[in-house]
């Protein structure tokens, strides 16, 4: 007789039965949310609570944290983002014990305290894509708590502009005998479009208010400094132009915001329109509006959305991914993959870089996690299709190898000022990440980008091209050569730096024909949030905190 392995399926049936008492069809009233969770979730379960980079299933987070820990305890939380206070309350209250996650920016101090204090058993800190991958192998959730804009009576969901992680989470859970519970702003007769099929969804709770979204990708042009503009000019003229970078991803920050705002002005002056920066893996950055309006951008795929950008996106469906209803469709999993395999360059900022080019955003008392940067900022060795920038970088890295066997390299660029907030140097001998690893007894120090993936470093002092460095010694001096007046910079060997400069492994602004005094705010195509609103034809609606009118 054949054995049928369907234990998990029958277990799901029992969970659903336990939850049915609170439901009419799939619909559960808001006031029964905690009771539903207590009925459906078992102690020790793996639970995915949708704390995405931006979107938060806030009602479900509050309801989860309100459970009786005598009834449900020792949960294993698997989630992208630890963002809301309730995400950590569940650990304080003994409802959860173990955590695997990717990003904890807003809770970086509190999570550090709980980790040091032993209140959280850490599985590992991942990148987003890694976590999604593990949902399909060894971290599949038994219960997924997700957020959507609206549902219809069949449980079909519209996740809209902030679709983000939901498809990856829901598919893994639904097809591996898990239970999917969704909070929605409202239940309607007809959805604008179907993002998640009702077959995947077991319970729907109408919260009656919009789920919380973090505005993360809005940078006020008024705050961009002359130095940041200088680094942007260097990047455009010293990297975008010579490599011909058409497909790219920008990490969030003021340096990259400056690059975006310089394309229609400085980029135009250099004759680069149509040659660079046309295809993007990027969230809807408001600072890219002038470039879009000036005809630089063919297409953008987004990880998530951005508060205030929706009306603009609707009116620019030639550029953004939108559904038949007109609203944005984002997808973090696919955008991460796009950033890895379909982009020729990543450029972003960091807090610390060491002498080998390893970089980290970790400090000794704050644990922010990785988010998606390590994926964007790494060489994708599985890539096979060629492009000019990729092949050129590969040639610079390994000139001796015969061309047909010499694969290319993704351009991975770190950009920033030599001194950061409170005059803390960006360049250090030893990353704070090492101290953190010791404190938390981690196998690996939390490094964001590894030196052997980083190809260029751009500061106000110039550009270091690590591809042209032949050994660790040269790499160290290329780093020192752009480290300005930091201790690392002042420790340079002048002769070594000069040799590297002759070879082009270090280039100063004057080598590129750039006078630092030319880095003027007047070069910015938009100098205020209001300017961005004007560029957008009044379609962009910035969040209140950015207004001065």
């Amino acid at each position: 007789m054949m054995t049928v392995l369907d234990t998990a399926r029958r277990a799901r049936e029992r969970r659903l039965q336990a939850g049915v008492q609170y439901a009419q069809g799939k619909r559960v009233a808001r006031e029964n949310a905690t009771a539903l969770l207590e009925a459906v979730i078992r102690s020790g379960d793996r639970v995915c609570l949708e704390g995405d980079n931006q979107k938060q299933a806030d009602l479900l987070a509050v309801s989860l944290a309100a459970m009786d820990s005598n009834k449900v305890h020792d949960l294993h939380m698997v989630q992208s983002g630890v963002v809301l206070p309730e995400h950590l309350d569940v650990f304080e209250r003994g409802i959860a014990r173990r955590l695997d996650y990717a990003y904890s920016g807003p809770q970086s101090t509190r999570i550090a305290q709980l980790l040091f204090g032993g209140k959280i058993e850490l599985g590992a800190v991942h990148t987003y894509l890694e976590l999604f991958a593990r949902y399909y192998i060894d971290l599949t959730p038994q219960v997924a708590l997700i957020a959507a804009v609206s549902a219809d009576r069949h449980g079909n969901l519209y996740t809209g502009p902030n679709t983000e992680d939901t498809p990856a989470i829901a598919e893994a859970t639904a097809f591996k005998d898990g239970v999917v519970i969704a909070q929605v702003n409202e239940i309607v007769d007809t959805l604008p479009r179907v993002d998640i099929p009702g077959d995947w969804v077991n319970f729907v709770i109408e919260s009656g208010t919009p789920f919380y979204v973090e505005p993360l990708f809005t940078r006020d042009p008024a705050a961009i400094t002359e130095t940041q503009i200088l680094t942007a000019m260097l990047a455009i003229k010293g990297i975008y132009a010579p490599y011909g970078v058409a497909r790219l991803n920008h990490g969030i920050g003021f340096n990259t915001a400056a690059i975006e705002l310089l394309l229609p002005t400085y980029g135009e002056r250099l004759g680069l329109k149509g040659k660079v920066a046309s295809h993007w893996a990027l969230n809807p950055h408001p600072t890219l509006i002038p470039a879009i309006e000036s005809g630089w951008v063919k297409q953008i795929h987004s990880f998530g959305s951005e508060v205030g950008m929706e009306p603009y996106i609707r009116a620019r469906s030639d550029v953004y991914f939108t559904g038949p209803d007109g609203s944005l469709r984002s997808n973090r999993a696919f955008c991460q993959v796009a950033g890895m395999y379909a982009c020729d360059m990543f450029i972003g900022s960091t807090l610390q870089i060491d002498l080998q080019g390893n970089s980290s955003t970790v400090t000794a008392d704050r644990v922010a996690g990785f988010g998606g940067a390590p994926n964007m900022g790494s060489d994708a060795r599985g890539r096979r299709h060629p492009s000019n920038p990729w092949l050129q970088a590969g040639k610079e890295a390994d000139p001796g190898r015969p061309a047909p066997l010499r694969r290319g390299r993704k351009l991975v660029v770190q950009i920033g000022e030599t001194f950061g907030d409170r005059n803390a140097p960006m360049f250090v001998e030893h990353l704070d990440a090492l101290k953190l690893a010791e404190k938390l007894d981690l196998d690996l120090a939390p490094v964001m980008l590894y030196g052997d993936d980083v190809t260029h470093i751009v500061t106000e002092e110039g550009i270091a091209n690590l591809l042209l460095c032949r050994d660790a010694d040269e790499r160290e001096h290329a780093v020192r050569g752009v480290a300005g007046f930091t201790e690392i910079g002042r420790g340079r060997h002048a002769g070594m730096v000069q040799r590297l400069r002759t070879r082009g492994a270090i280039r100063r602004p004057e080598d590129l024909g750039i006078d630092p005094l030319d880095a003027d705010r007047r070069l910015l195509s938009a100098r205020s949030i209001k300017d961005l609103v004007r560029w957008s034809g009044d379609l962009y609606e910035p969040p209140s905190r950015f207004r001065n009118w």
Binding site: A222, P290, R521, R522, S525, A526, R527, S528, K530, D531, V533, R534, W535, D538, S544, R545, F546, R547, N548, W549
Partner: protein, 300 residues
């Protein structure tokens, strides 16, 4: 996009130099005199050579003017002993000279806490000197459009001016948003709601409610045009003017005193779409404001 200089973005010096005819500005007590605050070093705070107040004279469209400009980014543009004394001295001099209008480029959060007594004294000395100058027939025109706005003592001084031009980014008030929230609660006034702050204290509202004569665009050119216009149209400071002002304010309080929000006032004034007023482009707003005007605000 416009590359014409933004008033909001500019430093006090840049505003002053762009406002006046090129090459005509001469500074009194310039930075090389190093007349700095005698108090800030006690608090380990850095000084500025001009103590954040630039005074001098120059020409505006050929007309000789006296001019003062506050640096809103230094100590929030707040009044201190030297800062205040420079403006007092300028206004007293204007009464003696009596033939030159005075332009005051406000950008101030009020009085410096570190120099509170001297600062408050300066405010009242300035107000007296300003009134004396106006009594002698000197037009005193205020221009407001910087980051710090025109608050506290600055707001009081502005209220004594012959006329005011303000930009959309500019704000005029006495108590600041945080102070109102602390004293009255967040339900009364949420200081983090910037749209509310600008609706209540910002340039467009001030223009509509009669707190300023002209709404200028956020450009040097627009402020220059406004200043040129206003120095020629300053009403005399006499009993007739004051009585008219009293009457205007009484009627305004009677008409709008029960309104909960600036939008209610705009609706009452006849604005068709109050919600979209803050977003209205400059030229369109000016047309609208001129159309709504019921009585001239010649009452300072």
């Amino acid at each position: 996009m416009s590359t014409a200089g933004s008033w909001y973005e500019a430093t006090a010096r840049q505003r002053l130099l762009k406002l006046l005819d090129e090459g005509t500005f001469e500074e009194f007590i310039g930075p090389e005199q190093r007349e700095t605050s005698p108090h800030l070093s006690l608090f380990d705070l850095p000084e500025q050579f001009d103590d954040g107040m630039i005074v001098g004279h120059g020409r505006l469209e050929g007309t000789r003017v006296l001019i003062a400009a506050q640096e809103g980014r230094f100590m929030g543009g707040a009044f201190g002993e030297i800062h205040g004394a420079k403006l007092t001295g300028l206004l007293r001099a204007s009464r003696e000279i009596s033939s030159m209008p005075v332009l005051i480029l406000f950008d101030s959060g009020g009085v410096r806490l570190q120099e509170a007594n001297a600062g408050e004294t300066a405010i009242s000395e300035i107000m007296r000197a300003l009134v004396d100058a106006r009594l002698a027939g000197v037009p005193v025109v205020g221009l407001i459009g910087g980051r710090a706005g025109c608050y506290g003592g600055g707001g009081l001084i502005a209220g004594c001016c012959s006329a005011l031009a303000v930009s959309e980014q500019g704000r005029i008030s006495v108590s600041g948003p945080e102070v109102i929230e602390t004293n009255r609660g967040v339900e009364e006034f949420d200081s983090k709601d910037r749209a509310l702050v600008w609706r209540t204290m910002g340039g467009k509202h001030r223009r509509l409610i009669g707190g300023a004569e002209i709404l200028a665009d956020d450009t040097m050119a627009s402020f220059r045009e406004a200043a040129t216009h206003l120095i020629k149209r300053a009403p005399p400071l006499d009993a007739v003017t004051l009585e008219a002002e009293q009457s205007r304010l009484e009627k305004r309080l009677e008409r709008f005193g029960r309104c909960e929000d600036a939008r209610d006032i705009w609706v009452s004034l006849g604005v068709a779409d109050a919600r979209s007023l803050p977003a209205l482009a400059y030229d369109d707003f000016v047309v609208l404001a001129n159309r709504l005007e019921n009585a001239p605000y010649d009452a300072r």
